[in-house]
Point group: C3
Chain length 136, copies 3
Amino acid sequence: MKIISLNTRNRREMVEITSQVNKLIEDEKIRTGFCLVFVPHTTCGVTINENADPSVRADILAILARLAPEKGNYQHGEGNSDAHVASSLVGHSILAPVINGRLALGTWQGIFLCEFDGPRSRQVWVKIIAETGDVS
Amino acid sequence: MKIISLNTRNRREMVEITSQVNKLIEDEKIRTGFCLVFVPHTTCGVTINENADPSVRADILAILARLAPEKGNYQHGEGNSDAHVASSLVGHSILAPVINGRLALGTWQGIFLCEFDGPRSRQVWVKIIAETGDVS
Amino acid sequence: MKIISLNTRNRREMVEITSQVNKLIEDEKIRTGFCLVFVPHTTCGVTINENADPSVRADILAILARLAPEKGNYQHGEGNSDAHVASSLVGHSILAPVINGRLALGTWQGIFLCEFDGPRSRQVWVKIIAETGDVS
């Protein structure tokens, strides 16, 4: 399993990691298969969304902060319940196809680590699966 | 990789694609494995939910429209920030088991393309994985 | 495919199943691969989140109940539209890496069946994939 390490800079932030994931796939020299991008943190998520206009990310983070506000009537005492909720709403993994040695994504799609309780040092785990058994 | 092409008819809509995915699996003549259903668009999602009563879909879309309203105080200038948010809330892929040459789903489950910024021409990418390495 | 059967005890509840999934992996005696945890119900979800402090679960369920309230202006006549919505927000599957014969999760991560329309008898389907084709 490969690890991408990064430092987030804000409490809530979407950090694009598409090119780092593609680099790991290139290093493995596989042509066809799958790529699992997994976040081992309970106050982060990973999602796919538009990577052209950064304001899309701002809008996503703003809505998530409204759905699960930082200050609320929470039971958990660490002040980051909003981050745990956002984490389960967004999800902890992406499984994307690999074709011609790269992630097969739509034109506007990028993969983002979603930080909901930063800034912190974070990891993203990447597992690349060559497609010996594939029939497609 | 297989492609399902379809035209959505409304701005927000859930289009069932279960039988089309099963047809692709049958064409491959595999018995056991997995099926990845991946949406390459940043204003769509793909989800599993009840396919018996269409009013379930209406309720899901209505709640999503309330969580991320079409008209809001958004930064992104294209007027579809709500669709980008819904896309990350619902997610872009489904990984489902394949058993006896068909999707193994629960009794009431169907797979739906979720259109959040239609009507448009859309694609769903389907990748079928035969299970040579499976031990289950 | 392996099946975990359980009975939920409340209408909304998060039931940790991490150790049961690990037991299934141990039974298969595989070392490296993937584990798909799939919920075949349309009013349940499966998620990863913190398994240390149970109040995190309470906060997640409370926010979900606010995003999709039990009583609402719903079309679906069975009184569980909120559960169908929560199910699509949280998602129906987890794909996690398997390393050294166990789930590779972050320090604080556990896997939870999310019951949104209990109490009921529920199943979780687990599919374990040995990693013959893996190059990581």
